[in-house]
């Protein structure tokens, strides 16, 4: 191949700049610029290592954001935002852009609870993943991103109504801690923050990495990791055009250390496409877990103006030990309205109630429901198989009931539960009783499957896990993983902060060895 270096120290390359095949050399090559990869790149660049950060998607400027839901999704999400699991059909979204999921998530950053970390240590033979071990890493990330509870002045009515309902029932609730500075309550987290308040990786960790000398290559698709014996030697791939995915020039990056942070779907696919790399345990692509989410829309007597307020501003951690977490939610109206029941004038009546509505959701730790990620010939898009276990449906049903309780305690006049086989509208807790008592099947509930983990899980025993406690692959001496695929199980809460904390620890270990 005709070879040239694509960039200089402290540089970022974009699609329009690639005009030939190229190769790079580095101390560390990081694949993926989401919350895991961006942290590793910044920490190692600041430690003086020559870092190349590779990202398949382009960087988005505010001029590139699209407020309308599907236009945004087709541009920022893989498979046009239409990726879904097979077995139990559930949509799941993975981003393709500089900053990864942090560009289009709602910035929720809680720490995993003590009991979860204790379970990880006990069940997965881990010794240094306790609260005390991880807290310094959590603190470092929190400080850098300015993570703080959402202030009241940008909560908006729909978030504060949630607090009112929880207070009335004696349930705990609190403002959601978020990686945000100067939120104005535009509710646009999912389509790109026009206020530049959300500290997504593309405006926080990645610029810091560049400042420290990292080279950032965007619009490059890593297709294979090459290895010799116990060492990964290089990554190879092709330049890829934004949105169309059309492939062009070839590239190769040789590095002393390779860090995979491509996400819970792409990381196992890359390992599978690289000759079954790092898979002596046969755990690569196994144990796929989600936080299936269910939601209820409530209609209030007064206008809630739901378009104003932090996208997700309030939460309740009261039920974490039962397996679910409650949150408030806003999304582009077209996306939110997808759950609205009926059609015709009935549907229009419900849509007309949107300005009087609030939508609250529950995410569940469905540890009984697992699946697989498999590479598909000719594409990097994975085949996802997953089933919702009936035992986890019980958790989701309990969560739906608690949400109904909170809505009516907050003064809702109607709720739209969105559960098959039940009334489309419920006007009191008495009417909502079937939510508690009627046996539900998995296909009766409509779930969204975000927060993905465990497809290259961490385990103290090399026969049962892909990476060790530091994120290093058991089978190779210089291949590391720093994304949510290393989680042993559900983190019980939104995974981004724990992913970054683990990546921070991984970066420290790499810096000490390279």
């Amino acid at each position: 191949m005709s070879v040239a270096s694509a960039g200089q120290t402290g540089d970022v390359r974009v699609f329009a700049q690639y005009d030939r095949d190229f190769s790079e050399e580095a101390d560390v090559a990081v694949v993926g610029s989401g919350p895991g990869g961006a942290v590793v790149a910044k920490e190692l660049a600041e430690a003086g290592r020559r870092v190349v950060l590779l990202e398949e998607g382009p960087p988005f400027t505010p001029d590139d954001f699209e407020w309308e839901g599907t236009r945004s999704m087709t541009r920022t999400l893989r498979e046009g935002g239409l990726r879904a699991t097979r077995g139990y059909v559930m949509p799941t979204m993975q981003a393709i852009c500089l900053g990864g999921g942090s560009l289009v998530n709602s910035a929720i950053c809680p720490r995993s609870p003590d009991f979860t970390l204790e379970r990880w240590c006990t069940q997965f033979q881990l010794e240094r993943t306790t609260r005390a071990d991880l807290d310094p890493h959590y603190e470092s990330v929190e400080k850098f991103l300015g993570i703080a509870p959402t202030p009241d002045n940008v909560q908006g009515k729909r978030n504060l109504l949630f607090k009112r309902g929880c207070d009335a029932l004696g349930y705990s609730s609190e403002p959601i801690p978020r990686n945000v500075r100067g939120c104005r309550g535009s509710g646009e987290c999912f389509t790109g923050c026009r206020s530049r308040a959300k500290q997504s990786m593309d405006i926080s960790y990645v610029p810091a990495a560049i400042r420290a000398g990292a080279r950032v290559l965007t619009s490059v698709q890593v297709q294979e990791i090459r290895s010799e014996g116990r060492r990964a030697t290089a990554i190879v791939g092709r330049v890829t055009a934004p949105f169309t995915g059309k492939l062009s020039h070839r590239f190769e990056v040789r590095a002393k250390v390779i860090v995979l942070a491509a996400g819970c779907m792409a990381t196992p696919v890359l390992l599978q496409r690289s000759g079954g790399l790092a898979n002596a345990s046969h755990q690569v692509g196994e144990n796929l877990q989600f936080h299936p989410g269910v939601a209820i829309q409530g209609i209030f007597p007064e206008r809630t103006d739901p378009q104003f307020g932090a996208t997700q501003g309030y939460q309740s951690l009261q039920f974490l030990r039962e397996g679910f977490k409650l949150e408030t939610l806003w999304a582009p109206p077209g996306v939110l309205a997808v759950r609205t029941p009926g059609f015709g004038l009935e549907l229009k009546r419900h849509l007309g109630d949107l300005p009087y509505s609030a939508t609250w959701d529950a995410i569940a730790s469905c540890n009984h429901s697992t699946g697989t990620v498999r590479a598909v010939r000719g594409t990097l898009d994975p085949a996802l198989a997953w089933r919702l276990d009936p035992r986890d449906v019980t958790i989701l049903q309990r969560a739906l009931w608690v949400l109904a309780e909170i809505f009516f305690a907050a003064g809702a006049r109607t709720i739209l539960p969105g559960v098959h086989g039940m009334s489309e509208e419920m006007h009191s807790l008495v009417e909502a009783e079937p939510l508690r008592s009627k046996p539900l099947r998995p296909t009766d509930v409509v779930c969204g499957g975000n927060h993905v983990f465990s497809t290259a899980r961490m385990h103290g025993d090399p026969r049962q896990g892909v990476v060790d406690e530091d994120g290093k692959c058991h089978d190779l001496d210089n291949l590391w993983i720093a994304d949510t695929s290393v989680f042993p199980q559900s983190p019980s809460v939104n995974p981004m902060l724990t992913c970054m904390a683990l990546a921070h620890r991984t970066a420290g270990v790499i810096a000490s060895r390279v």
Binding site: T70, N153, V154, E188, P242, P332, A337, L347, R349, L354
Partner: protein, 220 residues
């Protein structure tokens, strides 16, 4: 006379082909990817899901749903494009084989777009209320696509007072690093002198001006 058996055998096939492929009106404007048959189906589906009147006066067609779906299908990856078009084909033609209420002699055995309004509503209700999860999934998917199209319409959003507001975007360090998608770095119009103070967290004024793409007019 020997051609009579052939004629008898051919007639049902011809009838089915006409039912499936014939008689669609020409589209009012050229489409990016969808055929006139698909646009004909989407016209019918949009106005059945979102008929004129009610809480939001615009109908699905008036809100531009079929044209939106055309752009959406164009934007998604090829495999998803195929699945979406299969979805449209399935709902459009299922009633040819499984008649809507009214049955064969009551006008129910027609493709969806050729049914009367009551027939279309009955056909959609059949999908929506089915005991079979895959059938419900078909309805949910179709409604999701068309609902997102309905809410892509600025007049619909303005009618509900849900249109996005104008926001003054601060210039931050990242804006000096990244050009717009598809452009070269030389096109970056910001320098260090362009940096502005970050957002101070002042809540948005709901009575403030709307986002330029949603203020007045009829849409993009």
């Amino acid at each position: 006379m020997t051609s009579l058996p052939w004629l008898l055998a051919f007639a049902p096939l011809a009838y089915a082909l006409v039912r499936i492929f014939g008689g669609y009106a020409a589209p009012r404007r050229p489409a990016a990817v969808l055929s006139r048959r698909e646009l004909g189906f989407l016209d019918a589906a949009a106005d059945t899901l979102f008929p004129p009147g009610g809480a939001i006066p615009l109908s699905g067609r008036e809100a531009g749903v079929p044209a939106y779906v055309d752009r959406y299908v164009e934007a998604v990856p090829r495999r998803m494009r195929l699945l979406m078009r299969l979805l449209f084909f399935l709902v459009e033609h299922a009633t040819v084989f499984f008649p809507a209420p009214g049955g064969i002699f009551g006008g129910g055995m027609r493709r969806f777009s050729a049914l009367d309004q009551a027939g279309r509503e009955a056909a959609l209700a059949g999908w929506q209320k089915s005991g079979l999860f895959p059938r419900r999934l078909v309805f949910t998917s179709l409604r999701a696509i068309l609902t997102m199209g309905f809410f892509a319409s600025p007049p619909v959003l303005r009618a509900l007072r849900l249109a996005p507001l104008a926001i003054e975007t601060p210039v931050c360090e990242a804006d000096l690093l990244y050009p717009r998608i598809g452009a070269r770095p030389e096109s970056i119009r910001f320098t260090a002198a362009s940096l502005t103070p970050p957002s101070d967290g002042t809540p948005l004024d709901l009575d403030g001006p709307l986002h330029a793409g949603y203020a007045g007019g009829g849409g993009r």
